[in-house]
Subunit: 261 residues, 4 copies
Amino acid sequence: MSIRALIWNEYVHERENPVVAKIYPEGMHRQIAKLLGADPEITASTATLQEPEHGLTQKVLDETDVLLWWGHARHGDVAGEVVERVVNRVWQGMGLIVLHSGHFSKPFKRLMGTSCALKWREAGERERVWVVNPKHPIAEGLGEHFELENAEMYGEPFGVPEPLETVFISWFQGGEVFRSGLTYRRGAGNIFYFRPGHEAYPIYFNDDVARVLRNAVRWAYNPQADLRDPTEAPNVPVDKALEPIKIRGARLHADGEEGLR
Amino acid sequence: MSIRALIWNEYVHERENPVVAKIYPEGMHRQIAKLLGADPEITASTATLQEPEHGLTQKVLDETDVLLWWGHARHGDVAGEVVERVVNRVWQGMGLIVLHSGHFSKPFKRLMGTSCALKWREAGERERVWVVNPKHPIAEGLGEHFELENAEMYGEPFGVPEPLETVFISWFQGGEVFRSGLTYRRGAGNIFYFRPGHEAYPIYFNDDVARVLRNAVRWAYNPQADLRDPTEAPNVPVDKALEPIKIRGARLHADGEEGLR
Amino acid sequence: MSIRALIWNEYVHERENPVVAKIYPEGMHRQIAKLLGADPEITASTATLQEPEHGLTQKVLDETDVLLWWGHARHGDVAGEVVERVVNRVWQGMGLIVLHSGHFSKPFKRLMGTSCALKWREAGERERVWVVNPKHPIAEGLGEHFELENAEMYGEPFGVPEPLETVFISWFQGGEVFRSGLTYRRGAGNIFYFRPGHEAYPIYFNDDVARVLRNAVRWAYNPQADLRDPTEAPNVPVDKALEPIKIRGARLHADGEEGLR
Amino acid sequence: MSIRALIWNEYVHERENPVVAKIYPEGMHRQIAKLLGADPEITASTATLQEPEHGLTQKVLDETDVLLWWGHARHGDVAGEVVERVVNRVWQGMGLIVLHSGHFSKPFKRLMGTSCALKWREAGERERVWVVNPKHPIAEGLGEHFELENAEMYGEPFGVPEPLETVFISWFQGGEVFRSGLTYRRGAGNIFYFRPGHEAYPIYFNDDVARVLRNAVRWAYNPQADLRDPTEAPNVPVDKALEPIKIRGARLHADGEEGLR
């Protein structure tokens, strides 16, 4: 079965900035869809901020296995309701790959519970991405490192929780380092943050970046993505207890009553 | 120097339910304050939902080293603004100890990025709390386990991220288990979730529970709690780069410009 | 492509103890091989302590994707050279699934770096294994819990490092709890510890146990298992540095010299 | 009470190499002892490879709260018996700080269960150590980064398990990165690996390095370091079970019998 990947893009710079428009005339989302489509096991589609409900209706999300997220200039325009929908789908098991400036997107900040802040510089400097977790599925097919000759710098400290695994760390020409590939799990959903992707350079034409994205989609895919109600907090009635027990002491709640939230 | 602990309590059951009122006539917060006050290194004060700004003004939080949180029936009444203030203080380095039904409190859900759901049963059954991380600071002075003869059951799965450390796991008479002591770090803040604390039983009169709370306050205390602006994402101007670099390629941003969010 | 699983068994109790011989007349390894063989993607073979080099020659290990390990009475008889060979293959990327009393096996203790101690009781009591990480690949197809009506008890504290993920926690009738499913990564190798498997009861005839074993083999399989020399510590000569640098200051080593160990 | 730190040094380069002898005429251990002794809460003593039992008798270790380890040229000369003694003390709760080339020391490899390999270059290049975990106790008093103008390079991949926390990441002039400060816990013992410390440069005269070492000693200190027998695997007799149970089914072991290893 094919993995259904959905690339979400804010799609602003490509329409407003001539530099970016020239690199990505059809938008970064379409270029990323091409990269993913090169993998016969992935079916890639796209959605953008401008579409109704940002293209992220419940139906679309229910039919998505892995969501990729690129945003930058209009994080604030993403509707809270859509954010909660995305977050809930991640808890249910949808994979999420957060790209570059998506570190400040609402869904990522919501799922991390931290500031997700970092330092940055736009100088077209060299970035060298080191694989620190060799033979990790997301690093499949890469050498020990790969280089981006022109990159925006992101520097530590990166305000995220300690990850499950650190896959990549970047070296920058100007003297900084950054944890560029981090894995998390929230509910049944696998999350991967991947740093490269600045809009002013042709990052999504790079073969190693393409490889990482394809690997990450396969890694994030959870075929059991059907945890229907992740927020449910069921009462277990006393007479349904797995071991026989009797009620003792005081009680606030009646049997089978819904819990307080 | 003394650690300034603040016990926040929703303070509803004690005023509305005669069973709880009898156990905690002055409120759970005052009883917990007594337990903490027995430690000469801790200064304990209290705040409740009913106070202006729930007793959690910026000034109060700025003067708090470790916040303890008990809530249940009125999670929804906690103002969003106060929640963000608490969260920001945790990122700055304030410790947070979340008690029992506080698993569904707004600050905890906000900091975990997950549902924080669980299953539950109120039957006064026996709970045995096992120390799975011997000699952890939070378990100091405990034996291999301690028992609560009457407890509410909380059962797995507990919808939280993989913790830094699992300190306690509970056995329940009715057949369930629960990860009852979990540590996290968010920004510069240490977070501890501690399961026991049901209002219908005199849990906060138990010596082992008291010991855990005192240990947890000491553990959560970060004397460096002064990360002033955890959400700052500073631009590093090219001429201030630590290694000499020159601008190459295209740019979207002017030097020293504020980043997009 | 098929995953090549190898079940290693000490194979002592089945030959020496009539109770065990009756349950597993052909040995536990053959029964486990049957369970795994039911998965069309797994090819299962076996090896035992009594074979030359315990059946774990370099060639055999090189052709193994996932090794399962059952040992108890003769941990001490496993040759140190074979242990190092197994450990090195795990670092290269071979998966390892350690079963029940294998917690005290040489390869597991070697890879954990801890005592791997626990408490135990053999009373045929009930064990209820709870899934605490829903929708984890190793829990695929399981309900919220499964039961073993007769089990040996293993109790906390379990002397292992904090795991990557806790998948299962067991409840025991006699009052203990145990982290029964834990994941680790050492080098490129995925490791899973799975508690059930006491020889005196027909554990490996249980459908849920079978399902966990099959899931675990698929999870542990690393198709990139080819990290040829995990212990290599290469010198990077100055003239091969990725950024141009010149030698400055004192040196102990000549260019390209092998490092000290 | 004072924290009893013991600095163990192989003490070979300082006696055999004139460059190193000139920097550390009394040995690196004595210089590190001076740095630690500047903290009124630390009492520092030293031991070297050349002493009987390498200066690490059971009595000495029993009276040590935190052990620091520097080794390079003679890892192989450290007696296996002493290594096991050190490892057991760590499990009991003694802190361990592994310095620089100590990554290949026997105790560190033993406690990690991995190869601990890395790449390296000795060119006196610049190293910039970034704090990625702000306000971590080990980073107390540091700025966002500190620099070592002349350092040996260590490069990723570093063959260690995923740490509890990543505290420092280094940038190297020649193009590599390295996780330079990592925390672990093994049994009741806190472990910190700290990269800087090459013998050919005056690293242990650097104020930031000194600060890290003092912080790390305080962090690693476990006042409860008295887990007497970490390898004990006690049988719990059926009649001592915490919940009343009866023996059911078959048994291999007699009551109270010692377990198999």
